[in-house]
Symmetry: C2
Subunit: 165 residues, 2 copies
DNA sequence: GTCAGGTGCTTCGAATCTGAAGCACATGAC
DNA sequence: GTCATGTGCTTCAGATTCGAAGCACCTGAC
């Protein structure tokens, strides 16, 4: 406690730094693989993966996507534009809400994900899980999943309340 | 295993996604606090903190800083420039190696860190450790520290080998 | 010495990211 | 209906990021 006034104990500090470092390094590694294997950025991969795996229809509204991925709305507009230009997703006005835009993954998008996934898993396995047992992985998941839920529930994520006018 | 070809099992997938999500959300929260409390970006905070806490002299070479923080060299040059302009850091040619630049934290830099740290810890505690027991934090640290070491040792981090000429 | 190749940092240009502001539609009060 | 307010998305300007190329110095072979 001598050299810090953060109010965190030693174990918490270790955990915090390790977590952020691992996530940063892992993102780097993954980003490289995705670029090489399928010309995708990490965000683009997340978006496609979410559309491909996380929903039965392969579509989702922009806001839900932005909230699912940790991302700003304007950034999502930008990336959705890139993905659309690449033919991996399509955008259409939402049926129930004329303001909304529904993003759908295309067949090309699914193919791209399929192309990239095996290598992706390989990188994760080598970089993240190499030093971890199967039980460790389970423990890690059990530890972090509640944290994610806690974080997601607390503050109003990407949709910050508008300022007064 | 039906819906993915990543080669990762269910627990690994959960752990991977939870890890990345938690890190992303946490970074967001921390970034906001740092901006409000001390007008620092996350990277800037990392750099200052590393200088303030991690070394006896309060100085370090650019490359070591870049490797310590997960960061590109050119990005570090940019941020070091900002920090220097803000008076939080000073740069001087290295003594032993005329190519090298030694970055040192200034008194103002130390003050800034001290200003920001308590609130920083508060955010971490609320967002990250709220759902975790003391034992959990320890477990997390023990799980992730080896992973970080593994990742740092394997690939040639920020200093990618130069291409042939 | 001197030369070739390696390393430390910066510069440059292009890509990406963000918050704030803007536009269009939705919703509810009246 | 009309109005005030809220929400979904995009646009915009500016900040940040990265990799590649450039420059200066260092190191070892000769």
């Amino acid at each position: 406690m001598a050299t810090n006034s953060s109010g965190l104990d030693a174990a918490q500090l270790r955990a915090y730094f390790a977590l952020m470092d691992v996530a940063g390094l892992l993102k780097h590694g993954v980003e490289q693989q995705l670029r090489d294997a399928g010309d995708l950025s990490y965000v683009q991969f997340q978006l496609l993966a979410r559309l491909a795996l996380n929903s039965t229809t392969g579509s989702e509204r922009m806001t839900d996507l932005a909230d699912g991925v940790v991302y700003s709305r304007s950034g999502l507009t930008y990336q959705a534009g890139l993905l659309e230009k690449a033919g991996l997703v399509s955008r259409a006005p939402s049926v129930e809400d004329d303001r909304g835009v529904t993003v759908s993954i295309t067949d090309a998008g699914r193919e791209r994900i399929a192309t990239v996934l095996p290598g992706h898993g390989e990188v994760i396995r080598q970089q993240l899980f190499e030093p971890l047992s199967a039980a460790d992985a389970e423990t890690l998941a059990d530890l972090l999943s509640p944290v994610r839920d806690h974080m997601r529930s607390a503050p109003p994520r990407s949709a910050a309340p508008r300022k007064k006018r």
